[in-house]
């Protein structure tokens, strides 16, 4: 599973992760055998439409899903030598918010409205790093300054509702960074924000990456955001990674029909509006059925009989570029691999 040129130890290594939900309508196959890894300092963008399993994957890594109905059927999540899926709850609590930081989509729901911002930033500092009140306070001010909140010292006593949306998301980022995490998982962190505020947050993340050098998993449905900040991109569909490549490769020479279609549907702010928008016909797949064929086949214009009978696995197609498809879009012929 090694990808190309990197040699250093990955921060996190996920192998064959499978998560299902047991519901009244049957078993929902949300994540179907994902494998990926992150190098120190790398930013992996995870893109896909709603219901493709992006968030469930990241919640599975830290066992944040309610179990039952969720069940992690198989997989290995190696983080600093430990398999997180076989770590007890007590030890996992030390990792969550400590070595792995989380940023969720909606800052209003991830902050507690009845506690001050200061209390909420200092909590992980006391829990994980064992700082006393004064040290935690000093560090909290430092963190708020890091994410660009003016007069940080005075604002520690404010409650979440006294901040605007963008400021709240900065506070959430400050909390996620509190214990100097090795890995930051950000689940649609700018989706609820306006574009000008999103631009501010993206700028902060760019700066922080250079300063702190942590690895980041950035989940989004916005290909524009990914183009601006990611090193590598994983495109997800129906609970699978269907394409995995460096960001420039993915946008210049996408190889999976879904990625290609997704890029074509974008109107693009730098394109002229004359042409008709391409659209992907049909609906996202229903994950209640156990995936036995390619999940994209019913909507794919290249689909042929093999796609309906056999599910393609993620295979290395060229240097550092993995695709799960039976069709070679460049040569316009079926992949020949028996």
């Amino acid at each position: 599973m090694n990808l190309g040129t990197q040699t250093s130890d990955p921060v996190i290594e996920v192998t064959d992760l499978k998560t299902v939900f047991h519901t009244q309508d049957g078993t929902v196959y949300a994540v179907n055998g994902l494998s990926f890894q992150l190098q120190p300092g790398e930013l992996l963008g995870v893109v896909g439409e709603s219901g493709c399993g992006k968030s469930v994957t990241m919640m599975s890594l830290l066992k944040l899903l309610p179990m039952p109905p969720a069940e992690i059927v198989s997989g290995k999540v190696l983080f600093q030598g430990n398999d997180l899926l076989h770590t007890d709850e007590e030890a996992l609590r030390k990792v969550r918010g400590g070595q792995i930081g989380f940023i969720f989509q909606d800052p209003m729901t991830s902050l507690n409205p009845v506690f001050t911002i200061g209390f909420q930033i200092m909590e992980p500092l006391r829990e994980h790093l064992g700082l006393d009140n004064n040290a935690a306070r000093a560090r909290a001010i430092e963190l708020l300054e890091l994410v660009g909140i003016p007069s940080a010292g005075d604002r520690l006593r404010d409650f979440p509702h006294q901040f605007s949306g963008g400021m709240r998301q900065r506070v959430v980022i400050a909390i996620a960074l509190a214990c100097d995490p090795k890995l930051l998982i950000a689940d649609e962190p700018t989706t609820a924000l306006d574009v000008t505020v999103q631009a501010q947050i993206l700028e902060i993340v760019r700066e922080l990456r250079q300063k702190l050098g942590m690895a980041i998993i950035w989940i989004t449905h916005d290909l524009g955001v990914v183009a601006g900040i990611a090193d590598r991109v994983a495109v997800m569909y129906g609970g699978f990674i269907v394409e995995y490549a460096q960001v420039s490769t993915l946008f210049e020479a996408p190889k999976h029909p879904y990625t290609i279609a997704l890029l074509e549907t974008l109107p693009g702010i730098n394109k002229d509006g004359e042409h008709r928008l391409m659209s992907i016909s049909g609906q996202a797949p229903n994950l209640v059925n156990k995936p036995q064929s390619c999940p994209f086949a019913p909507r794919c214009k290249y689909a042929f009989d093999r796609c309906l009978g056999e599910n393609p696995m993620l295979e290395l197609r060229s240097n550092d570029h993995k695709v799960a498809c039976w069709w070679d879009v460049e040569k316009n012929e079926a992949i020949d691999n028996g």
């Binding site: 949306g165 574009v195 524009g224 183009a227 601006g228 946008f251």
Partner: protein, 330 residues
């Protein structure tokens, strides 16, 4: 605007104001007002799509609703084909209603879960007593067909449909009375990327077929660039700039438009790497207490002294473009 061009104008908005009062205390005395829309002047031409963009809370949706008289505007005129509807009484307004319709953002919230698709789409026909009996059924089938839904779905309920299909139901309902003007309030914001394109294509097809005029409200600038003919950029209850799509995106004049365009992420890593971004400082001010002078002055990267003192006039720059900025021609 020259007299000759007036014939093409469907909707004319003149100094439209929509203030929402704030009440406080035991006596519920009015202590102020949220100036959601504060002096808009523009027109919408027959058959065009006017894009209305801006960030959340800038008054886009309020504008759309006020133009349809879903609110009673505080001041100003809304002329629909030359006649002012801002002060029409209920019964006269009701006669105008079939000609102007609305498509809402969230199809989940705007469709009654207890009504079948057939009754949702035929409700406007019943309300305005246009057709009945067999004709009505035929009309509903025709409408469903027009928006790309199978007419046999007529007895199904909204929850049986996906988000994109639900939005099609909302569009069919808006079309039921053969309107001339439709306000589309973020019609694609709740949909996935691959479904957004389907709905936008449908809206464009219908416009071509039926000669509709759209006010397309959206925060998605790239989609507005695709669908609109002219674009109005709003900030804190005022229009900052109005120009044709080409002019606005290629050569924006207002500093806010420039910042807004530079903040939109481009799905191309090469462009993203080289881009110069204008990062605005701070947040949108409170519309209950807007800054004096130009409303954008507190965040404007090029503001001068007069911007803080003097509210800029809505100026005609020639070439069919308008701007509200003291410094726009530099």
């Amino acid at each position: 605007m020259a007299e000759a061009e007036n014939k093409n104008i469907l909707v004319e908005v003149e100094d439209l104001r929509m203030h929402f009062p704030i009440y406080k205390g035991i006596l519920r005395r009015q202590v102020g007002a949220v100036k959601a829309v504060d002096g808009l002047t523009f027109d919408i031409r027959r058959g065009e799509t006017l894009g209305l963009v801006g960030e959340s809370g800038c008054g886009k949706s309020t504008t759309g609703r006020a133009i349809l008289r879903l609110y009673n505007p505080t001041a100003g005129k809304i002329k629909f084909e030359g006649s002012n509807i801002a002060d029409l009484n209920r019964s006269d307004l009701r006669k105008m209603r079939p000609r102007m319709q609305m498509i809402f953002q969230d199809p989940q919230a705007s469709l009654n879960p207890r009504m079948t698709v057939g009754s949702i789409v035929s409700e406007p026909l019943d309300e305005h007593g246009v057709v009945s009996g067999k004709q009505k059924k035929a009309r509903v089938s025709e409408l469903l067909d027009a928006v790309g839904l199978d007419p046999s779905f007529i007895n199904r309920y909204p929850h049986e449909f996906s988000g994109g299909q639900r939005q099609r139901i909302g569009i069919a309902r808006a079309l039921a009375l053969d309107p001339e003007f439709i306000v589309c309030d973020e019609p694609i914001a709740a949909l996935d990327v691959s479904i957004q394109a389907q709905v936008v294509n449908l809206l464009e097809d219908l416009q071509g077929k039926l000669g509709l005029t759209y006010l397309f409200i959206s925060h998605d600038l790239s989609m507005v660039r695709h669908i609109a003919d002219r674009v109005a950029v709003m900030y804190l209850g005022k229009v900052m700039e109005l120009a044709s799509v080409d002019q606005l995106f290629k050569n924006p004049k207002h500093p806010y438009t420039k910042a807004l365009l530079s903040a939109v992420p481009v799905p191309d890593p090469k462009i993203e790497a080289k881009r110069e971004r204008i990062i605005l400082k701070g947040d949108v001010p409170n519309p209950a207490n807007p800054p004096s002078g130009c409303v954008f002055s507190t965040r404007c990267p090029v503001a001068e002294k007069k911007c803080f003192d003097l509210s800029p006039q809505w100026r005609d720059l020639g070439g069919d473009r308008y701007v509200a900025c003291h410094l726009a021609d530099r």
